[in-house]
Subunit: 214 residues, 2 copies
């Protein structure tokens, strides 16, 4: 019997392995939606473009999830991955910066079914403060530290302009935020206990043009 929680407590799993778990979960959900009950590392490999050996090795960090020859029970493995990723209950998320991108994110329909609820919006623009996006009121980002502390929010999405990104991140850290999804095209300096993931379409495009021919 796998005990994912103990596995997690007792050893350090490489960050790159942790980063693949959401992709496994996403693929398992897709397979379940297609009506499948059981899957295999081979099937996951085909869907994900990884090797089946890598998938087995990644999952083995957390326990034994399948039997040799019978594959993985999809519902069981999904539940285990949700436990490992702390997705057993909904996370409240603060979204900072309600420009074009912030607007699109505030209205993004996939957050709630995947365990994330945009619980607070912040902006510095007086014309935006007090308005609602997707029925969530936009709060004055001047009060962000107290508002996030009071709401007990631990996760933030940063969609502010570049020149205020670091300052905003500092205030999120002060408010007790543990994880920042950063859409500003800059490297944020945060304490080691705070996680940052960066989404910069330019960096992604430039990585690919290295391989492109005109």
């Amino acid at each position: 019997m796998a005990d994912a929680t103990n596995a997690k407590r007792n050893k350090v799993v490489p960050d790159i392995v942790v980063g693949r778990l959401p992709l496994y979960l996403r693929t398992l959900i897709r397979l379940e939606e297609e009506g499948k009950i059981v899957t295999s590392s081979q099937e996951l490999a085909t869907r994900l473009g990884f090797s089946s050996a890598q998938i087995r090795k990644d999952l083995s960090h957390f326990g034994e999830f399948g039997k040799q020859g019978t594959g993985y029970n999809i519902a069981y493995l999904m539940q285990q991955l949700k436990n490992i990723l702390n997705l057993d209950a909904m996370w409240d998320v603060a979204l900072v910066g309600v420009g074009d991108l912030g607007h699109a994110l505030a209205r993004y329909g996939r957050f709630v079914p995947k365990g994330f609820r945009i619980a607070a919006l912040f902006d510095a623009d007086p014309r935006k403060i007090g308005t609602r996006v997707n029925n969530i009121p936009v709060q004055n980002s001047e009060h962000i530290v107290d508002a996030i502390k009071q709401a007990g929010i631990k996760i933030a999405i940063l969609a502010v302009p570049l020149d205020v990104a670091q300052d905003t991140a500092d205030r999120l850290v002060e408010a007790g935020v543990q994880a920042i999804l950063n859409y500003a095209p800059t490297t944020l300096i945060v304490p080691p206990n705070v996680k940052v993931q960066n989404i910069d379409p330019i960096a992604h495009l430039q990585k690919m043009t290295y391989y492109c021919e005109r």
Copy 2:
């Protein structure tokens, strides 16, 4: 004297190193904007949160860009990185899917200064076809293969719903696209000569909740 083009032709650089080059370039541009002429691997390390040894090793794949003790000339290293990343001229980009996210991307002001011009928009919705976003007409995605071929576009941004993502990717490949920035939350199956970079905020958030405490 560095010869980045030859370095690139003659050996295979690890993909993870290529992925860090846009971050070096982004940081160099920032340093130049701050009025600096010369930088060091130590300064880049502080800005980026990498070790200075890693930065020196990454850059050494492409030649000798700095002298021991005098650091890197920022303008020169920027130009070399632009050459390596094929950013010497503007890339035309096709954006497929003009929903909330597609809208935000079509209006995103950083593409052009960083070497990417949204040259064509596509959508399947008859109410959107013929309208303009940021003065670019939305074309019928039924004609996407011919339109992209005729325009000679090699890079696409995919912002379509999940259920049509793979089919759309197949048509982009048929049209000669070499690089796809994929915002649909699924793994695209493409030929080995086509590069894909994935942006899925859910996967990024779920990677971080692994480390979070409620």
